[in-house]
């Protein structure tokens, strides 16, 4: 008996997945539960395990193919003799239903959640004119037409343009194209080559972030005495009330950040596809490290949450991400991100923007310093070092400094966090 391997649904909104890698060749023996291929959706990767023990009879899709959830990607059979049968049967149906990469991109875009909804993508402006012949040639040669300059009538890409690109390379590669509305300035396909799939995705995201924005980091410390005192008091009271809430410094910093973002919306903004959108809502990304890499689960509508519910939520999303069952919904739609390296002892660093956000707040290890108090007495003061990276395309240093100022006001007057 044969068992079909299907594209799993990794999350509520996942509609397609990409085949990252086949770990087994046709004809290989596989054990039930053994990883036979790696698939990925927008931000997630997952191993697909063999549903039964047997022989891998067919790989119906190739590495790099986009496949709809629920479609057959391969077949495992208990006996070798079934290879031909399996190959003959299902292939056609699979290839028919498989969506083209273009459709796929559009569909992913639709599932991008809140961010996509807020955006008003102007199709006309981004429309590429290309002749049927040139389009076919580009498809055959696997060229990205967004990187090709059209020299035909009405600026359309013609056969000659494709031939030129074939000979001397993309017109827009490595440049900052001024006429076109921000085509990616790199060949995204080649990034992360040879890396494990999650690293590959991180590699792409980081490279894309750096390529598309002008990043600058400001550093400043805030006094944490009051905040630590408050944390201590809250912990005691929660314990007395026998509530199941753990208030960490990260939670309090998150709360302070949310309030600061609401006061200073310029920092709570997305710049993408030539459009800048400031948000009223705060969807807060919490950078979470895993053994294989880094994920950024998102606390949606964080501005509606009290310290207590924020604490619960941050814990929940981090756990979910670490547990490997994060879906696209959990990992997308943030408007600002916090990354905390406090546990590593690092003081200052330069976080990379979680593109296309405009700011990311890095939190360093808590410091103890001797300072002079108002009475000119030496005092020991707890301090938190902050590293704020912002996109200099849309914000200036003064803007970022203003935001930090507001943030520090909340950190140093933590009773305001109750508001």
């Amino acid at each position: 008996m044969n068992e079909k391997i299907i594209m799993p649904k990794l999350g509520m909104t996942m509609t397609e997945g990409t085949i990252e890698e086949w770990h087994k060749e046709v004809g290989d023996a596989v054990e039930k539960g053994e990883a036979i291929l790696t698939i990925s959706s927008e931000k997630l990767t997952q191993e697909v395990e063999a549903p039964i023990s047997g022989i891998l009879l067919s790989q119906d899709v190739e590495t790099g193919d986009e496949v709809k959830v629920g479609e057959v990607v391969g077949t495992i059979g208990e006996v070798e003799g079934d290879i031909a049968e399996a190959n003959g049967e299902e292939k056609e149906a699979v290839s028919e239903e498989r969506v083209s990469s273009k459709e796929n991109v559009e569909k992913v875009a639709k599932t991008e959640g809140e961010r996509a909804k807020a955006k008003t993508l102007s199709n006309d402006r981004n429309r590429i004119f290309i002749t049927p012949l040139a389009r076919k040639m580009a498809e055959d040669k696997n060229l990205d037409i967004e990187l090709v300059r059209g020299t035909g009538g009405n600026g359309r890409i013609t056969k000659l343009d494709i031939k030129r690109v074939e000979e001397i390379g993309y017109d827009y590669e490595g440049e900052n194209p001024s006429e076109q509305s921000a085509p990616p300035a790199m060949n995204v396909e080649s990034i992360g080559e040879g890396l494990p799939s999650m690293r590959k995705i991180i590699a792409r995201n980081m490279r894309e972030s750096l390529a598309k924005s002008a990043q600058l980091t400001l550093h400043r410390k805030a006094s944490a005495n009051m905040l630590m005192a408050m944390q201590q008091k809250l912990r005691e009271e929660i314990e007395e009330a026998e509530l199941d809430i753990k208030i960490t410094v990260t939670v309090l910093i998150a709360r302070a950040t949310i309030l600061a973002l609401q006061d200073y919306k310029k920092m709570n903004a997305i710049y993408h596809d030539g459009e800048l959108i400031e948000y009223d809502e705060v969807h807060l990304g919490i950078a979470t490290s895993l053994d294989e890499g880094l994920l950024v689960p998102v606390v949606k509508n964080a501005h509606h949450k009290t310290i207590g519910s924020l604490a619960k939520e941050i814990k929940a999303v981090s756990t979910q991400a670490r547990g490997g069952d994060a879906d696209v919904d959990l990992l997308s739609g943030s408007t600002f991100t916090i990354t905390n390296m406090g546990a590593t002892g690092v003081e200052y660093f330069t976080p990379i923007l979680n593109a296309p956000e405009s700011g990311i707040l890095g939190v360093g290890a808590l410091q103890e310093e001797f300072t002079l108090n108002s009475n000119q007495e030496v005092e020991m003061e707890k301090k938190i070092p902050f590293s704020l990276t912002f996109d200099h395309q849309i914000l200036d240093g003064a803007d970022a400094a203003t935001f930090l100022e507001i943030l520090i006001k909340y950190i140093e007057s933590p009773n305001l966090l109750m508001l």
């Binding site: 035909g152 009405n154 013609t158 000659l160």
Partner: protein, 346 residues
Amino acid sequence: MRKISFMNAITEGMDMAMDHDNKVILIGTDVAGGAGVDHLVQDDVHEDAFGGVFGLSKGLVGKYGRERVIDTPIAEHGYFSAAVGAAATGLRPIAELMFNDFVGFALDPILNQGAKMRYMFGGKARIPMTVRTVHGAGVGAAAQHSQTLYGMFGAIPGVKVVVPSNPYDAKGLMLAAVEDDNVVVFSEDKSIYGIKGEVPEEYYTVEIGKAKVTRKGTDLSIVAIGKMVHVAEEVAEKLAADQVSVEVIDLRTVAPWDEETVTESVKKTGRLIVVDESNPHNNTATDIASVVADKAFDYLDGPIKTVCAPNTPVPFASNLEQAYIPDREKVLKVAAELIVDLKNTP
């Protein structure tokens, strides 16, 4: 080889057809001329007989007699019906419609009788009839004597339509039309009657339904009909100076037109302009454009362009008439957008 004019090639074609087969008759208004005029018919010479308003059938009545070169009253419905009836019963008439603009009077015999009899009668009829007619602006004949209507005939199932562009094709297509067992409209552009070209003296036919590539090229295909083939050649010459290689296709047969030759050319060049003196809608050019857009879509490297007359009757004043007719400049203007990338590339 000897060179003769377009009109003499047509006459020679009709002459040879009549010589070849005594069932071929010529029927129409003044095709012989002088019927009933005593001083013109004496001694059966008919030297001074009209021979058609353009003189194309001059001399034929002397050779074949008034039994086979038949002058009719100016009554197209009647004599076109008679030509259909004669064709259905064993003759091979060449019926002349003096100007294609008169088609209103001659249409029923073509549209409802000649074109449909074989089909309606389950394949039992044959209508070997040639309709000789004249189209085209450029001689100041105004709206009722200048229109280009071959596309209208070409829209009728059961009718073939040929439009020669040069003397060689004129003779060969005439002989092929008369040999054909169907209604074949042979449409002549009167403004090129005088052009000369090499024409063999012997009997030969040009295959109906087959276009001819008159100039090989790689960058742009221009399909042209009749006189417009000369326009296409001029355009090709001009563009050759800009290093743009144009392939010119003389359609020769408007119905059924040669899809294979046209689409193969477009598959090679990726670009197409169709030049047709018809009015711009529901014509042969738009038909070709639609078929090519369908069958060669993935080979197209630019939009398909048509260059036609405007959607107006043919005007009389000479400057207006010139503005009406597609010419080299009009085609070049349309071509400009299509080949801009070729010109930009060294």
